[in-house]
């Protein structure tokens, strides 16, 4: 085996070890102890801002369950929840959920470590 192959193998092993370590850290993070929260967070990371109705439709979660997850995510500082006046809905407030920079960072790290281990 050539030196190049050996260096490449060592590099790949280091990257994989780092990814496994990073993923293990995230597995211990309480935000990621629910796959529904992971789903919500990654969805929000891509769209940046969604209404809770959209989130409910996409995730298939019930109203109470979604609220519970959103409250936890807000508690961790990963999302911001606000009430926006929606047009055409007789002025009733529509709940909007927006990902924060902290949430984006957490999501990037999660997706990166999962991708390193071949999604």
């Amino acid at each position: 085996m050539s030196d190049d192959d050996e260096i490449k193998r060592d590099f790949e092993k280091t990257v994989t070890d780092e990814a496994i370590r990073s993923l293990n850290e995230q597995l211990n993070e309480s935000t990621f102890k629910s796959s529904s929260r992971i789903l919500i967070l990654v969805l929000l990371a891509q769209a940046r801002r969604m209404s809770s109705v959209e989130l409910r439709t996409l995730t298939g979660l019930g109203k109470g369950s979604l609220e519970n997850h959103l409250n936890k995510l807000e508690g961790f500082g990963f999302v911001r929840i606000s009430n926006a006046k929606s047009i055409g809905a007789r002025g009733s407030p529509r709940q909007m959920v927006e990902i924060t920079e902290k949430g984006l960072d957490a999501c990037r790290a999660l997706v990166k470590s999962i991708s390193s281990l071949a999604l």
């Binding site: 102890k33 629910s34 996409l58 369950s65 997850h69 991708s115």
Partner: protein, 225 residues
């Protein structure tokens, strides 16, 4: 999907949740592309038929070309900026390594100057070489089809949806056919037929994309908590 709050999640479940989120977001992107297709159908209609319609109502000649052309391309650029922002946000998460260059090419800092430059080329052609305007417009449309195809590849991890193939395919074909027709001085009816069909294809693609139901993804959802 069950909710079990703080239960531990395995690596496999984590992976499936991320994959499901990416695929659900692709559904949202598909809807966003639908809006883009409808806006572009309007833009192409204004660009292809706006001036002849205005001229038939009140003959004002070349004076109507400029505002109609600006309205048409303005409609297109607004739709592109809106939809591509979503593509960029998604790509930042799904393609973390290769997104930097793309982000620039899909962002307003690149698109707005490009649009201004394109408009300048069209206006200068109208003023100095009016016989070449059609060729310039068709070449721009062909370039647009290539650019949109690249953005589509970035939007979808697997196959690109069939309505997008119809839209981009019809735009490319019509542009190439129109450039070919220019060399044989075809009648205006040929262009009207060609671009009329393209506009219909884009309206169809837009409506089709907007009316897709939320996908089930049973396999990915199974076991998620």
């Amino acid at each position: 999907m069950m909710d079990s709050g703080g239960a531990d999640v395995s690596r496999d479940e984590m992976r499936r949740a991320v994959r499901l989120a990416i695929r659900l977001n692709e559904y949202l992107l598909r809807r966003a592309w639908g809006i883009l297709f409808l806006a572009f159908a309007l833009s192409m209609f204004l660009s292809s038929f706006g001036t002849p319609i205005i001229d038939s109502l009140a003959s004002i000649g070349v004076a109507s070309t400029l505002p109609v052309n600006l309205a048409a391309s303005g409609c297109g650029i607004i739709a592109i900026l809106w939809a591509f922002k979503r593509v960029r946000n998604s790509a930042e998460i799904t393609h973390p390594d290769g997104v930097q260059a793309w982000s620039r090419l899909l962002g307003y800092r690149f698109l707005v100057p490009l649009w201004i430059a394109t408009e300048a080329v069209v206006i200068l052609t109208i003023v100095f070489a009016s016989s070449r305007v059609s060729l310039v417009v068709f070449l721009i449309r062909l370039g647009l089809a290539v650019y949109m195809y690249c953005a589509l590849r970035l939007s979808f991890s697997e196959k690109i949806p069939r309505e997008t193939v119809i839209a981009i395919g019809s735009l490319s074909l019509s542009s190439i056919a129109s450039i070919a027709l220019l060399s044989i001085t075809a009648s205006p009816g040929s262009y009207a037929l060609l671009w009329g069909a393209t506009i219909v294809a884009w309206i169809f693609s837009g409506i089709y994309a907007r009316t897709r139901p939320v996908p089930e993804f049973e396999e990915e959802r199974t076991g998620l908590e």
